[in-house]
């Protein structure tokens, strides 16, 4: 039996919108075609509030709140774009660009990359912090896919899709801080993973060219992640 649905009304970027009490600001904004920048959040997976791109201002609190995990409240007034937020978002994107080695001109997802698209949309024309140029590896041991750490932004989408949807939990993190890396199984080569089912979901939810199919060249890889919401929806329906 479903509980009584509570309807709440609020304002996002000046638009009056309505929502159920269970929804997050991000979900309501998307329903109403109000774009909120985001990188780690993706429909069909749990939200973790890690990339900080979806931070919004809510009237009455001076803390910035991540739209992906903040539930709507009656009478909320949400600001998505302001000088302050734009500045932070740009600087956070610069953090990401400087953290690893993102070279669009040789990247398989050039033109289809969520990081690149967002940076263009928000007008990141320069990276004002020095590049860190870390020496990171490429794992091409899997027969169908490659993991290039140079392009990884640690959004944990691959980790979540593998654990939550595929149920394999092949991916996880090792290290901490700037030394964090995505690893398969117990930090083994992907190709020798005993848990990986080679389903390819991780490749298709990856927002950048960090995970890609072998055999594609520059700009040839575009990702299909539309299946995810359907998968989760179908599962919700069969749940007892």
């Amino acid at each position: 039996m479903k509980n009584k649905v509570q309807i709440k009304t609020l304002k996002i970027e000046g638009h009056d919108v309505s929502a159920t009490g269970e929804q997050t600001i991000l979900q309501v904004a998307m329903e109403n075609n109000i774009p909120i920048p985001r990188l780690c959040s993706v429909e069909g997976l749990s939200s973790i509030g890690a990339c900080r791109m979806c931070l919004v201002e809510v009237k009455g609190t001076n803390k910035l709140l991540p739209a992906c995990v903040t539930r709507v409240e009656e009478g909320m007034e949400v600001t998505v774009f302001s000088e302050r937020l734009d500045g932070y978002r740009k600087l956070i994107l610069e953090m990401l660009f400087s953290e690893r080695n993102h070279i669009c001109s040789v990247c398989v997802v050039n033109g289809h990359c969520e990081l690149q698209t967002l940076a263009m949309k928000l007008g990141v024309t320069h990276v004002t912090v020095p590049y860190l140029h870390p020496k990171v590896a490429v794992d091409a041991s899997h027969e169908r896919f490659t993991l290039d750490h140079n392009r990884c932004i640690l959004c944990a989408r691959c980790v979540r899709v593998c654990a939550e949807i595929e149920g394999a939990h092949t991916w996880d993190f090792k290290g901490r801080g700037i030394e964090s890396r995505v690893v398969s199984d117990m930090n083994e080569a992907w190709g020798s993973s005993e848990t990986c089912t080679s389903c390819g979901k991780c490749v298709h939810v990856c927002p950048t060219g960090a995970l890609f199919e072998k055999g594609v060249s520059v700009a040839e890889m575009s990702k299909r992640k539309q299946y995810l919401p359907y998968l989760t929806m179908m599962r919700e329906e069969v749940k007892p």
Binding site: I48, A50, C51, I178
Partner: protein
């Protein structure tokens, strides 16, 4: 176990101690142990035996007596009450011999010195008094009476009301009102249990208050947790303590075993229907696991990373159940509050910060060690009276409070009262109680760099601002310290401070810029000197290449 039985144990214990004319108490907490206090204790025991004084003189291991700088500490009680400092095993004979005579002059540490006289002990009242490894000794000084009082004469709501009335605020750093937190957990409904957690993942550089409490008086913390569990309706508890504290872990384990054997922990505590099982979980050395949601993830066996709040642990904590999580020192305050009433506690301290606070006094100060002072005392009193001032007649520069989340308080605020609001108003925080004194031989750029290095390596890596921002800030501070920075680097540093503070996911990132921001605010001239003159006055930073080029540019 009921109150009568408890008091009988206390009475037996007192009777057992009565025949001894002399007691020689040796500190057996970690800092004195590290300077051979165990050997001192053995030597004292051997000497007492050799003189055939076993029936008149008791040698006893006790918890921390505070002045760690002068350890090993030994206190002789009997004909005279004397504190001895820097005792070696060779001094044992002289100390035993002096028991019936005058004190050994060369070792005496005057008890009337401000370091001891200026303190007010609530949390540490048993430290240095009781044997931390014997529950009977804790019971002798009234231990577990508060628990029995709460269980048999008070309802959970009355317990919470008493804590609320006391005005106690969380001693872990943020200063959230403890009574309010308890009340929230108490109100949260849960069909299959709630949890209480003790946060003993003390990680600030230079802070050792919690370690000392756990090593010196572990039962005090267990009693506080049991009262809290009764108040909020929990029957399982965890103590999350860092594995780097092996002695604290050992004493906690022993304490839990002893308490369960006596029936003051475990099933049907003190013949009531209330049960509480407490387990220990060891932290693997991650600073971020002191953040409550990361700590909970770590107990669950997951990667110790924070998650966004809400939901707060009070609603959805350990395994999704309502969870009360408090710091060691907070729990250590509970038994006295129940014993003496919330009103008594509220009478100590300032209007908004009640009670006392334990500080680990370290750095450029004569008396380094552990102090407990009433809230509202001034920093000047702490540094120059209790702390004995700066050694080598150097000039005072700043006090760093709150560790990597705090800031540096300059000389002009030395007369400010120490409480949550005052420290926050000058850009620092109360924090868990680390207090590092700095003199003119410290370079503030270097200090900021040190703390940023700490945050950079302790960032969990989950959110971008903290993971990458701290690395860039550390790079910039290193550049300034090497004398290679330009004015634009300082601007970038300030932009990064602002962004990391406002956008990071958890407290670690949000507070990571504090040491930089506060030194930039009060010691901007030092940054300017590194940039403009390529000079470090304190002589700490290694300047790569002094240059005249930028001289004269206004800041």
């Amino acid at each position: 176990m009921n109150l009568d039985e408890l008091q009988e144990i206390a009475e037996q214990q007192r009777e057992a101690e009565a025949p001894f004319e002399h007691r020689v108490q040796v500190c057996v907490a970690a800092s004195c142990l590290s300077s051979r206090s165990d050997q001192v204790k053995n030597a004292l025991e051997a000497d007492v035996k050799a003189r055939g004084l076993e029936h008149r003189c008791k040698v006893k291991g006790v918890g921390c007596m505070g002045l760690c700088a002068a350890g090993p500490l030994v206190e002789a009680r009997g004909k005279h009450r004397t504190m001895y400092q820097n005792v070696t095993p060779e001094d044992a004979a002289a100390i035993v011999e002096s028991l019936d005579k005058e004190p050994v002059e060369r070792l005496v540490l005057p008890l009337e010195m401000p370091f001891f006289a200026g303190q007010k002990k609530i949390v540490l009242e048993n430290s240095g008094e009781i044997d931390p490894e014997k529950i009977e000794d804790y019971i002798r000084v009234g231990g577990y009476e508060s628990l029995i009082k709460a269980l048999t004469t008070m309802s959970p709501l009355e317990v919470i009301e008493e804590v609320r009335k006391s005005g106690l605020r969380g001693r872990g750093g943020a200063g959230y009102p403890t009574g309010l937190k308890w009340s929230t957990v108490q109100k949260a409904s849960s069909e299959d249990g709630k949890f209480v957690i003790c946060n003993a993942d003390e990680g600030d550089p230079g802070a050792f208050m919690d370690r000392s409490v756990l090593e010196s008086d572990p039962h005090r913390v267990l009693e506080g947790m049991a009262i809290a569990a009764y108040a909020v309706g929990a029957n399982r508890g965890y103590i999350y303590v860092r594995a780097e504290y092996p002695l604290a872990v050992k004493r906690l384990k022993d304490a839990i075993r002893q308490a369960e054997r006596l029936g003051v922990l475990g099933n049907d505590i003190c013949d009531t229907t209330f049960s509480l099982r407490i387990e220990i979980r060891l932290g693997a050395g991650a600073f971020v696991c002191g953040e409550e949601t990361a700590l909970i993830a770590s107990i669950e066996g997951n990667r110790g990373q924070p998650r966004p709040r809400p939901p707060y642990p009070a609603q959805s904590g350990l395994w999704g159940k309502p969870t009360l999580i408090n710091n060691v020192e907070t729990y250590a305050n509970i038994a006295p509050i129940i014993r003496n009433g919330g009103g008594w506690f509220a009478g100590i301290g300032t209007e908004k910060s009640k009670g006392t606070k334990v500080f680990a006094l370290a750095g450029r100060v004569r008396n380094t060690g552990l102090i407990e002072v009433p809230m509202g005392i001034t920093l000047r009193e702490i540094v120059f009276q209790l702390g004995g001032g700066i050694p080598e007649e150097r000039k005072f520069k700043a006090v760093q409070t709150g560790g990597p989340s705090g800031g540096c308080v300059p000389e002009r605020y030395l007369d400010m009262p120490v409480d949550y609001e005052s420290l926050a108003s000058v850009g620092s925080i109360m924090g868990s109680g680390g207090m590092i004194v700095m003199d003119e031989s410290s370079c503030m750029v270097d200090v900021a760099k040190f703390f940023m290095d700490f945050c950079r390596t302790e960032s969990c890596g989950k959110c971008v601002p903290c993971r990458v921002g701290t690395v860039h800030m550390h790079e910039l501070l290193s550049k300034i310290s090497r004398g290679e920075a330009e004015w634009t680097d300082l601007e970038l540093l300030e932009r990064l401070c602002e962004m990391v503070r406002s956008t990071s996911l958890c407290g670690l990132g949000q507070s990571a810029p504090n040491p930089v921001a506060s030194t930039l605010k009060y010691f901007r001239h030092e940054y300017a000197q590194h940039i403009r003159e390529r000079l470090c006055d304190a002589g700490v930073c290694t300047i790569s290449q002094p240059s005249e080029e930028l001289a004269g540019v206004e800041l």
